[in-house]
């Protein structure tokens, strides 16, 4: 099996607090991997290490290696800016740029890279919004403000924005926790369509979502990676007792 991201002895700290403890995880390529676990187990921190967003917080640091296609993204020659173009992220609360239109939001990343050809930009907008299952809803109001649409639509806009720069990996940090069930379903559907071209890692506190959406699942507890397996197998025959306890709801 091909692995897109491999971490080796990854540790993440917020000052003195040790959030991620010696995690070695392998994310399969072109598949959806879910990371589950109780609140505070470090799952968000883990994926934020994968696109070097963790270090943005004051006092945060990372040790260990994170290999993207066998190259360590934390090596001193690596510029975080380049890493983040390859590994995109969608956050828990939708955060479109309020001063920009829907169109401008989607192409924000492309414009950073100097793309000026409006034909290319137009096609990128259409492509990205279609991938994010938002095109039909907003194609006639691309000039509308990025925040003038519903929460679910905003989140899909953020997904489109992240996809427009054509990353190789898409990280989603509890993307549906602020959304209603219908919006959630729409997003889960589009993730299915995305995995052909992208490697997807989704953090979720909702086990049913993981069961529905993910090919593989990782279970974390108190900063450690407890178990990683094919989703079906993990939910039906978990190997670790802790995993079983969590899945059956006996804690967290």
């Amino acid at each position: 099996m091909d692995y897109k991201i491999v971490t080796k002895d990854l540790n993440a700290y917020f000052g003195e607090v040790h959030s991620v403890k010696g995690v070695g995880i392998r994310i399969p390529k072109n598949a959806i991997t879910a990371v589950i676990g109780p609140s505070g187990c470090g799952k968000s921190t883990l994926i934020r290490c994968m696109n070097r967003m963790h270090e943005v917080v004051r006092g945060a640091r990372v040790t260990g290696k994170v290999l993207l296609d066998n190259r360590d993204i934390y090596s001193s020659q690596m510029d975080p800016v380049l890493v983040r173009t390859k590994v995109g992220m969608v956050f828990q609360k939708p955060n479109p740029f309020p001063t920009m239109s829907i169109y401008d939001n989607v192409v924000a990343g492309l414009r950073l890279n100097g793309e000026r050809d409006w034909k290319k930009l137009d096609s990128a907008v259409e492509r990205s919004l279609k991938l994010a299952a938002l095109w039909d809803e907003v194609k006639n109001q691309l000039d509308a403000s990025g925040v003038g649409i519903s929460g679910g639509q905003q989140q899909r806009l953020c997904i489109a924005r992240a996809l427009a720069v054509e990353p190789e990996v898409l990280l989603l940090d509890e993307p549906c926790s602020a959304l209603d069930p219908i919006a959630t379903a729409k997003i889960e559907d589009l993730l299915f369509d995305l995995k052909d071209k992208y490697t997807i890692v989704i953090v979720t506190h909702n086990m049913q979502q993981a069961a529905r959406v993910a090919d593989f699942t990782a279970f974390m507890y108190l900063g450690e990676l407890i178990e990683f397996d094919v989703t079906k197998k993990m939910f039906e025959h978990p190997e670790k007792e802790l995993t079983e306890k969590y899945i059956t709801g006996r804690f967290g």
């Binding site: 800016v81 380049l82 950073l112």
Partner: protein, 296 residues
Amino acid sequence: MNRYQYRRTKNALASCLALACVILALIPLVYILAEVVMKGAPALSWQFLTNRTTGTGEPGEGIGNAIVGTLLLVFYAALIGLPIGILTGVYVSEYGNNKFGTTVRFFNDVLANFPSIVVGLLAYALVVSYLNVGFSLIAGSVALAIIMIPIVANTTEEALRMVPNSLREGALALGVPRWKTVLKVILVNGRAGVVTGALLGIARISGETAPLLLTAFYSNYWSLSPTEPVASLPLTIFRYYSSPSQVLLQQAWGAALVLILMVLALNISVRFLMWSRTGRSKAVRKTWIIRLSRKT
């Protein structure tokens, strides 16, 4: 250079530019302080501080009456301004969650940044013109009080806002009348804010010149009377600054030094007060420039 390198260079340049702005802004500050100290220090002497001004450049004159004048002006201004400022601040914080309160707060903010010469005109209109007192100490104090009020009101209000509601509710639940609760709350928890406001206000008004030009005018004599013109430090500087006489010019620098020491001491002690109450340092945030976040 490809696009990526261009972006990196732009980033580095922008950071340097921002830092350059900071340094550029600090240069005048350092320069001014250095000049005032260097040119003002030679003027300092016991005589300088105790003799009165004559404006003639004769040896033996000093700025004693100007120092006293400034102290008097500030004293009377505080006498008028502190109570009004505190009361306004209390009102806005405790009772002012309505349209009227918002209006008061708004006017307060606008007034805080008002040109001081216009304030001088207002004081002139009241004391010198309408009450026909003429150029006088009290007119000057009124002008300074008007400048002081928004500052004190702001800091008072902020300090009171930070007091947790549970305190107020607890007192009310025990049947303590509203005004007593408010009093207790200020005395115990809002004290820091009031003191900060007072100090900031005093720092600000000690240096004001324009309003005094129109109201307190000037005097070469020792004067304690509220209805007579009075000397003041800033006006002394203004009078002497363009004088051809080296003696008077040096006196201007000396007065500047005394004034700046006063103002800096006050500002630093405010900061010190804030630091020593780190838990409540957010509560006593300095606002004499502008007051911002309003969440009514």
